[in-house]
C-alpha cells in the first residue's frame, strides 16, 4: 500500500483553519539519480545514461535505479534489470549509483521545500509533500508557490522537478505525474472528474500490476469506470482496499501530510540481492542470506527496533516468486537468530531450487516494536548475550569507520564465489 494511504492510518490530522481550502504540493524530481549524474558529469548529458544498482557493472546483475530521459525513449526505465537494459541499449552509459551524492542533493532539496511550508513530508529520496494551506498566501496563490519552488530548485540545484498541486496528497501526486519533465499541474477540485476519468486505474498510487489485473477482470480499466462501480462491489471484492480505491477514484484522500519529525510508522526492515543468472547452491545462498540478515538487523539496531517475524523472498528462475514467513517466538535485532530462521525457510524450498535456480533472494523482519518499549525476556535472550555483545562492537566500529569497516569471515569469500558464478548470457530470453 502506498505511504499516502499508510499515513492515513498512523498520523493525527493537522489542525487547519475552517475557512482555508486545503492545498497540497507534490514535488517529484525528474529522473533524479540520472539527472544528478548528468549535471555533475557533463560527458553524459543528452545521452542515454543508466544509473544501476549493482556491485559489478561488467556483469548483467542488478537493476536500473534510474534512466535518463534519453534512455527512456528506448523503453528502459527504473526497475528494468541490467540484463534487459543491456539488450535494449548496449551502447548506453552504465554507471553505479552514488547514493551519498543523491542523499546530499535530497537534503538540499528539502531545505528549499522547508522555505515554503511548516508541514513537509519527505516521501522518498526524490519526492516530498508540502501542505501549503497555511502558507500559500505568503507567495501569492498555490500556483505562484509552486512556480517559485520549481524555479528555486532549478536555480540552486541545477535539477528539474515536476510539481503537482491539488486539494490532497493523492490528487497532488497524480497531478505531478501528468506533465514530466519540468511540469507544473494545478488541479482544482471541480476539474477532477474531467482529468481523472479517462486515466488508467494504475495511475492511482498503490495500484500495481496485480491489482490492475483484478480490476481488469471485472471490467474496470479507467478511473472513470472505477468511480462508476458500486462501492458495495468494491468492498466485497477487495475489502478495505476496495473502499479506499473507490474513494480515490473521486479524488478523495484524507491522509494528512506528516512532517518528517513526527515520523512514519516503520513496518519492516529488509534487504535483497539480485543474483544474475541465479544459483542453486544452497550453501552459497545461506551465506548470501547471512549477509542480508546482517544488513537488515544493523539498520534495525540503528533505528532502535526489534522484530518477531522473519520473511524470506526468493525469485526462482525469473518465473516464480515465493515468499515464506514465520515467527521468531520473541523479539530480536540480532543477525544470528534471524539468519537461523531465514535459513530454515530457505532450506524448505530446496526441492524448488533444484529445478529453478534462485535469481534473487531477500529477507525482511516484520512485526516490529521499538526497543525502548521493552521486550519480554526469554531463554534466548540469555543465549544471545554473546552475540549481542559482538553486534554492539561491530556497530561501534561501523559507526566510527563506516559500513565497510568490518565484515564476517564467512562472507569474505562470498564476493569471489559470487563473481565466479555463471553470468547471464545475452539472448537467453
Amino acid at each position: 500500500m502506498s505511504p499516502a494511504f499508510r499515513g492515513h492510518l498512523c498520523a493525527p490530522p493537522r489542525p487547519v483553519s475552517r475557512t482555508a481550502v486545503r492545498t497540497v504540493i507534490h514535488v517529484d524530481m525528474d529522473a533524479y539519480f540520472a539527472s544528478v549524474e548528468q549535471r555533475d558529469l557533463p560527458i553524459y548529458r543528452k545521452k542515454p545514461l543508466l544509473v544501476c544498482h549493482t556491485d559489478d557493472l561488467s556483469s548483467y546483475r542488478g537493476i536500473v535505479a534510474a534512466a535518463s530521459y534519453e534512455a527512456r525513449e528506448f523503453g528502459v526505465k527504473s526497475g528494468t534489470s541490467v540484463l534487459e537494459a543491456k539488450l535494449k541499449l548496449p551502447h548506453a552509459a552504465y554507471i553505479a549509483g552514488n547514493y551519498e551524492k543523491y542523499l546530499h542533493n535530497t537534503r538540499l532539496l528539502m531545505q528549499i521545500c522547508e522555505k515554503y511550508t511548516d508541514c513537509l513530508e519527505v516521501y522518498s529520496i526524490d519526492e516530498a509533500f508540502l501542505d501549503i494551506t497555511a502558507t500559500a498566501h505568503f507567495f501569492g496563490s498555490p500556483r505562484d508557490t509552486a512556480v517559485r519552488l520549481q524555479a528555486e530548485v532549478a536555480k540552486k540545484l541545477r535539477l528539474t522537478c515536476s510539481v503537482g498541486v491539488g486539494p490532497n496528497k493523492l490528487v497532488a501526486k497524480m497531478a505531478s505525474e501528468l506533465k514530466k519533465p519540468f511540469g507544473l499541474t494545478v488541479i482544482e477540485p471541480e476539474d477532477l472528474p474531467g482529468i481523472f476519468a479517462p486515466l488508467p486505474v494504475d495511475s492511482i498510487p498503490g495500484v500495481g500490476r496485480r491489482m490492475r489485473r483484478h480490476l481488469d477482470a471485472i471490467g474496470i480499466r479507467t478511473i472513470g469506470q472505477l468511480a462508476e462501480a458500486p462501492s458495495g462491489l468494491m468492498r466485497e471484492k477487495f475489502g478495505v482496499i476496495g473502499e479506499i480505491l473507490h474513494k480515490a477514484a473521486f479524488g478523495i484522500d484524507d491522509s494528512p501530510v506528516v512532517p518528517s519529525y513526527k515520523g512514519m510508522e516503520v513496518k519492516s526492515f529488509g534487504q535483497s540481492l539480485s543474483l544474475g543468472k541465479g544459483s542453486a547452491d544452497v550453501e552459497y545462498l545461506c551465506d548470501v542470506l547471512l549477509g542480508l540478515c546482517d544488513g537488515a538487523t544493523r539498520r534495525m539496531r540503528k533505528a532502535g527496533y526489534l522484530g518477531r517475524t522473519v520473511a524470506v523472498y526468493i525469485c526462482l528462475g525469473r518465473l516464480f516468486d515465493l515468499s515464506r514467513r514465520t515467527g521468531l517466538g520473541c523479539y530480536t535485532d540480532l543477525p544470528g537468530r534471524v539468519h537461523d530462521v531465514a535459513k530454515d525457510l530457505l532450506l524448505r524450498e530446496r526441492a524448488s531450487l533444484d529445478v529453478y535456480p534462485a535469481t534473487k533472494v531477500g529477507v525482511s523482519v516484520t512485526n516490529l516494536a521499538k526497543r525502548e518499549d521493552g521486550q519480554q525476556t526469554t531463554v534466548f535472550d540469555v543465549l544471545d548475550e554473546k552475540e549481542a555483545a559482538v553486534a554492539a562492537v561491530v556497530d561501534r566500529l561501523k559507526n566510527r569507520y563506516g559500513e565497510k569497516a568490518v565484515t564476517r569471515c564467512s562472507l569474505i569469500g562470498i564476493r569471489n564465489r559470487y563473481k565466479g558464478a555463471p553470468r547471464a548470457e545475452i539472448g537467453i530470453f
Partner: protein, 85 residues
C-alpha cells in the same frame, strides 16, 4: 566509460571564501591540473566528514574524495575517453 580506481592521491587545494577548492592532483606519476569542478557533495564515513568532488582535467572527469578524519584524498573513479574504456 567509467573506471573504478579507489587509490590514494596527492592533491593541491586552496581555500576560496571558506570553501576548499582542489586545483591539481598527482596520480600515476602524472600531474593533473583541474580545470573545472563540476560537482561537490558531502557525506560521512563513520564519524568522519567526507567531501566528494567531480572535477575535470583534460577531457576526462575524475571523482575524488577527501576524508577529513584522516585528511586523506582518494581518486575514486574516472569517466571519459582517456580512461581507455
Amino acid at each position: 566509460m567509467a573506471v573504478d580506481v579507489h587509490e590514494p592521491i596527492e592533491v593541491s587545494a586552496v581555500f576560496v571564501r571558506g570553501r576548499l577548492k582542489p586545483v591539481s592532483f598527482m596520480w600515476s606519476r602524472r600531474h593533473h591540473k583541474i580545470s573545472e569542478i563540476t560537482g561537490v557533495y558531502k557525506y560521512s564515513a563513520g564519524t568522519s566528514a567526507c567531501y566528494g568532488y567531480t572535477v575535470r582535467s583534460g577531457d576526462d572527469l575524475y571523482e575524488i574524495s577527501l576524508n577529513t578524519g584522516e585528511m586523506a584524498w582518494r581518486l575514486e573513479r574516472i569517466h571519459g575517453c582517456e580512461s581507455g574504456v
